[in-house]
């Protein structure tokens, strides 16, 4: 399916309905639709079956689609991803869940050496059409093993696609596109915004999704093409590149500071929407990159290099990166670690003053 035709479908359905879902509900609905549409889709992971997942993303799916379509697995991430590769070789389209991104590491050999390279090494004889879903990111006092943002480990691997939604609307459309994609996709779900679009002001009450326009989720099937960024808001003063939770944080900070920033939600890190980035940076002449992940060799480094290489003569200031610190995610100092409004605000001031 081409990007054009899917965006037509998207708009057509959207006009017809106004349902509001949180991100978990939207993900659950995408899974439900794909289980119904495609008999090759199967869902598996730790606690995803009867119980419906520790975040409830697969709630009700086993009861509806049966135990051989949606099932619990042994606690072995290596096994989960390895059998998903085998199922893919048979012709199924597995959607394994890794309970927390922090626990994906035992599965990395199967993901990096196997799933990511299967198409290449067999010259297309075999493919690995799996979508690995996993909650990631911090802000829930989860300590170092329930908070990490390891996306750059995956964007560094040739053959993997990396997708990160930031709204219920996108989560559903992107997940459907990821499942239909014939390449292995890492689908990281920002768990901090499962229930509401976190602004980064942790001491203010959390808004539920229901008040956010992007909680309007069309019924039925629609896809959002992988590799297309979303313009969150247009602006002239600077371009801010973000994804996941940080989209909402930068939006709130830009609003608070009254900065005319253009915010791009990348949605897919690989393949990247380089055209949208170039067009925006050429217009604004300033670029800031924000992610929660650690800084060194983070995806921001790749973005910064790309913007510098491709938009150098349009830049009026060096590219700014705002990130998490290069430490494990701390427990008690979670909010000192998190790249929140103060860190982002400071970077905005710096970028504008140059």
């Amino acid at each position: 399916m081409s990007p054009e035709s899917s965006s037509v479908t998207e708009t057509a359905v959207e006009a017809a309905t106004e349902r509001r879902l949180n991100m978990i509900e939207a993900i659950n609905e995408a899974l439900d639709i794909m289980l119904a549409r495609d008999p090759d889709v199967i869902i598996m992971g730790e606690d995803v079956g009867y119980f419906g997942g520790v975040f409830r993303a697969t709630a009700g799916l086993q009861a509806k689609h049966g135990k051989t379509r949606v099932f619990d697995t042994p606690i072995s991430e290596c096994g989960i991803i390895g059998v998903a590769v085998g199922m893919g070789a048979y012709g199924l389209r597995p959607v394994p869940e890794i309970q927390f991104a922090d626990y994906i590491y035992p599965g990395l050999d199967q993901l990096i050496s196997e799933a990511a390279r299967l198409r290449y090494r067999s010259a297309g004889d075999y493919i690995a059409p799996l979508t690995v879903r996993s909650p990631f990111g911090g802000g829930i006092f989860g300590g170092q093993t329930h908070s990490q943002s390891p996306e750059a480990l995956f964007t560094h691997v040739s053959g993997l696609k990396t997708v990160i939604p930031s709204t219920p609307h996108d989560a559903k459309g992107l997940l459907i596109a990821a499942i239909e994609d014939n390449d292995p996709v890492i689908f990281f779900e920002p768990k901090r915004i499962y229930n509401g679009p976190f602004s980064g002001f942790y001491d203010k009450p959390v808004e539920p999704w229901k008040k956010h326009p992007d909680s309007i989720v069309p019924e039925g099937y629609y896809r959002i093409p992988l590799g297309k960024a979303r313009t969150v808001r247009e602006g002239e003063a600077m371009t801010i590149l973000a994804y996941g939770t940080m989209v909402h944080v930068v939006e709130a900070v830009a609003r608070e500071k009254g900065v005319d920033a253009e915010i791009l939600d990348l949605r897919t890190l690989v393949p990247l929407d380089i055209e949208a980035i170039e067009a925006s940076v050429e217009k604004t002449g300033r670029c800031m990159i924000v992610h929660e992940a650690t800084r060194t060799s983070g995806f921001g480094a790749e973005l910064s290099a790309l913007v510098t290489e491709r938009c150098f003569y349009h830049l009026e200031a060096p590219v700014e990166r705002v990130t998490g610190f290069d430490t494990p995610y701390p427990h008690s100092l979670e909010w000192a670690y998190f790249p929140g409004p103060v860190r982002i605000g400071e970077a905005i001031d710096k970028l504008l003053s140059e």
Partner: protein, 438 residues
């Protein structure tokens, strides 16, 4: 020749006429919420019935012990058979005291989380014997690599309660500097390895420590604890392989509490065989023990420790027990299992069983028990109050921001120094400079 080629041709053409359709088996626990529970099918055997082989026995001579249950405490509250460790009354009372303390501690910390004093807690209710008894059977300088449910080891080794609470509250006195999720303790002084959130990673580490001890001609041994669900991780199997290959002086404890969050033990392979039997496949001595029988737990651990110390190699011990409460403060088990399971559990409650044994032996009574329970609750309450003076999570009394950047490396590289300055600057922007705990 032509006939031999037929099956392949059939498969290629999709001809399956003579072959049965395959079916995927997905395990299912016997009972779900609301179900009436009947555990009479679980064969618990008889206390005292299991033979106790010599500690140097070859694993193949003692295979039966991987399938039955080693039990000492009988229905009559007496200790039976060759596995009776014959502990004196003082030791038994100390053991009971540790178990009561762990229970009181769990109660209070769980409540503290509910009251918003911290983010997370995990109880070990019903499983106290599986950590306290082995900890008492080991020497205090034997190295332990626990999972997150072995608070009993720290209590048995005399780790100060206040340090545990400071860690749980992530406060300014927390020895782990507020870095770790509550209950992820560490104490080198108590030969207690830093707890990881990543399951089963401690198993090969324990083997490595034991190998190192053997390399050096030391006399100390190592032990790891892992949940039955976590035995599915590759790390556990690597541990078994290395332990077997190097005949490592290590005890690999598997706490089979029947559940791994919402997944019953069948998802770790329990429908097919026991967890102890895993050891036999590797050529490791294996014992399967009534995990609610503190005397049996002690005896098994003591047997394994003697075996390791005598250079006879590793032992895998499965403690057959039951997770009486939810997985953690984040879990509500009423969504996936029958509440009756706990009541019907055929091996009872480890604290009650040890208490009843001491009473039956004339070494204890209900009055003393009640007084001890009260004293434990009081001690925990007082210590909690004391710890609260150092702060609770999220109320400002934390370690200075600079500590966040320390210990990433031995020395702070330039980029972390810059980031530390950034963090402190942000704090001043947000709160002004008068905040005491920068």
């Amino acid at each position: 020749m032509a006939e031999e080629a037929q099956p392949a041709n059939l498969a290629a053409s999709g001809g399956k006429a003579n072959r049965p359709a395959l079916a995927l088996h997905v395990p299912e626990p016997k009972y779900r919420p609301g179900d009436t529970v009947d555990f009479s099918d679980i064969d618990i055997g008889k206390a005292g019935a299991q033979p106790r082989p010599d500690e140097s026995a070859h694993p193949s001579e003692m295979g039966e012990l991987a399938y039955s249950l080693i039990r000492v405490l009988g229905e009559d509250n007496q200790a039976h058979g060759p596995w009776n460790p014959r502990l004196d009354a003082d030791t038994l009372r100390a053991m009971l005291g540790h178990m009561a303390m762990v229970r009181a501690f769990d109660e209070r910390m769980f409540r503290g989380q509910r009251q918003g004093k911290t983010s997370f807690y995990m109880k070990c209710t019903g499983e106290e014997a599986t950590s306290i008894a082995p900890a008492m059977a080991l020497a205090s300088d034997d190295m332990v690599f626990p999972s997150y449910r072995q608070q009993g080891i720290l209590i048995a080794r005399g780790y100060p309660l206040i340090e545990m609470i400071n860690q749980i509250y992530s406060n300014k006195a927390d020895k782990l500097k507020g870095r770790q999720l509550p209950i992820m303790y560490s104490s080198r002084e108590h030969s207690f390895f830093s707890i990881s959130g990543n399951l089963a990673t401690q198993c090969p580490q324990a083997v490595g420590w034991a190998m190192a001890s053997a390399c050096r001609g030391d006399s100390r041994i190592a032990a790891s604890w892992v949940g039955e669900g976590s035995t599915a991780e590759g790390d556990f199997h690597s541990a078994c392989t290395f332990a077997a290959v190097y005949n490592a002086p290590v005890i690999l404890n598997v706490v089979n509490n029947q559940w791994a969050i919402s997944s019953f033990s069948g998802f770790a392979g329990a429908e097919r065989t026991t967890f102890a039997a895993r050891g036999l496949g590797y050529g490791i001595a294996a014992l399967r023990v009534d995990g609610n029988d503190a005397l049996a737990c002690y005896a098994a651990a003591q047997w394994a420790a003697n075996r390791a110390r005598g250079n006879h190699g590793p032992t895998l011990i499965e403690y057959f027990t039951y997770r009486a409460e939810g997985h953690s403060t984040s879990d509500d088990p009423s969504g996936y299992r029958s509440a009756q399971e706990r009541e019907e559990w055929p091996l009872g409650d480890p604290v009650m069983r040890l208490k009843n044994h001491l009473i039956a032996s004339g070494e204890w009574d209900e009055e003393r028990q009640a007084a001890m329970d009260l004293a434990c609750a009081e001690k925990v309450k007082e210590t909690t109050k004391e710890a609260e003076k150092n702060g609770i999570l999220g109320h400002g009394l934390h370690h200075p921001f600079h500590t966040m950047f320390e210990d990433v490396y031995e020395e702070l590289p330039w980029h972390l120094e810059e980031q530390a300055e950034q963090a402190i600057r942000e704090r001043i922007t947000k709160f002004g400079s008068e905040r005491p705990f920068g």
